[in-house]
Symmetry: C2
């Protein structure tokens, strides 16, 4: 493996043959995903909360209300942020060898609150990574909305990925078992955009009409 | 709200207007999802691991190798299991009011290892919930495979859901802002099944060809 695990806790334990510690894989998974699951400890118990996110260079950006427990936690405690892309059901000849094709990224760390220009740039990045062109189209945040939003940057320095792809792996003894084997590929697709009924009809903007998950390349300044 | 929160930790804090504690909502979300994110504490730090799961009545079933840390943890420690269905991007006139449509379920608890007949029934349930008809088609687990697999049942007694649906909610002052507003619906779809190249071509079985996420109703005995 060209890239070693960055730390003990970021080392993949189960099925280490599926581990991938390369930045290219990490970036690709994070850039295709939309929702992350953030794990933290609350009152002594584990908690997992889904949230939107964006990758900005070597950081993962989270944002939310300043009143949100998740944001306070992400800025002050160790968290684990996991993004999973489900690529298919793997149907083997044997029940035992059924599996799923997936790409997952796990990031361990503690966030840092962004303020001032850095915060505003990150909020733009957040939106542009999800839907390029949207930041300039929408009404920008005013001072009160900026104050009500917290943005946290989490370094990607302690991360690992796991990837399973390809057909089922049955044992030699099962190869002649008369059961169809293969993969049902899965993907996330958009349906045609639905305009807000409270708005007079207008054409769907090109960046909205053509939006697809995983095609989200912008030219966006990085958080330092 | 007809159904109150079952416990303090299962009470939704942020955006409580989106909270839903009804069993019907919980069951519907768990039955449509395929991958759960399991949160636990490992060496003092939070960890979040994706895994397949199935709902069986008032339990959530997890399974995996007896060598898996996740399975050992799920059987001996408190965990938090979160399932999130992303239903759409919510594009508001204001940057601030952008959101996502989603349905999420969060289950807190500690699992119980299933053994013997109960374990075997649960393994069948696990597969049949994902793809009805598959258990009888595939080569059943032998004694060694049964020994190598751990099945854990987590009660659904401490759970909560959050649901956001519908158009963006812009403020009155933004209603005339000239920016297209609405929703880009998202869904997970299967592509045509791809047979294992190591198998002589055979027709795709009906239950595989017609499989869709969320259409997984089986007639399956429940774990007690």
């Amino acid at each position: 493996m060209a890239h070693p695990a960055p730390s003990a806790r970021a080392q993949v334990r189960r099925a280490p043959n599926r581990a991938d510690y390369s930045p290219a894989t990490l970036h690709a998974i994070l850039d295709e995903g939309i929702v992350a699951h953030v794990g933290f400890t609350a009152d002594g118990f584990p908690a997992v909360v889904p949230t939107g996110y964006a990758r900005d260079g070597e950081h993962l950006l989270l944002h939310g209300s300043t009143a949100s427990r998740l944001m306070r936690v992400a800025a002050t405690q160790p968290v684990c942020v996991t993004v999973t892309l489900l690529d298919g059901l793997v149907l083997a000849r044997s029940a035992f060898n059924h599996s799923m094709n997936y790409r997952s990224a796990v990031v361990y760390g503690q966030g840092r609150v962004l303020e001032g220009d850095e915060k505003r740039a990150a909020m733009r990045t957040f939106m542009e990574k999800l839907l390029p062109g949207r930041w300039d189209a929408a009404r920008p945040p005013d001072a009160k909305e900026m104050l009500g939003t917290m943005v946290v940057a989490l370094p990607l320095s302690e991360a690992s990925c796991k990837v399973r792809a390809g057909p089922p792996l049955d044992e030699e003894r099962d190869m002649e078992f008369a059961c169809w084997a293969g993969v049902v590929p899965l993907r996330t697709v958009p349906d045609p955009p639905v305009q807000d009924p409270k708005q007079a009809p207008m054409p769907v903007p090109a960046e909205v009409a053509s939006w697809r998950p995983g095609r989200r390349q912008g030219h966006i300044p990085s958080v330092g």
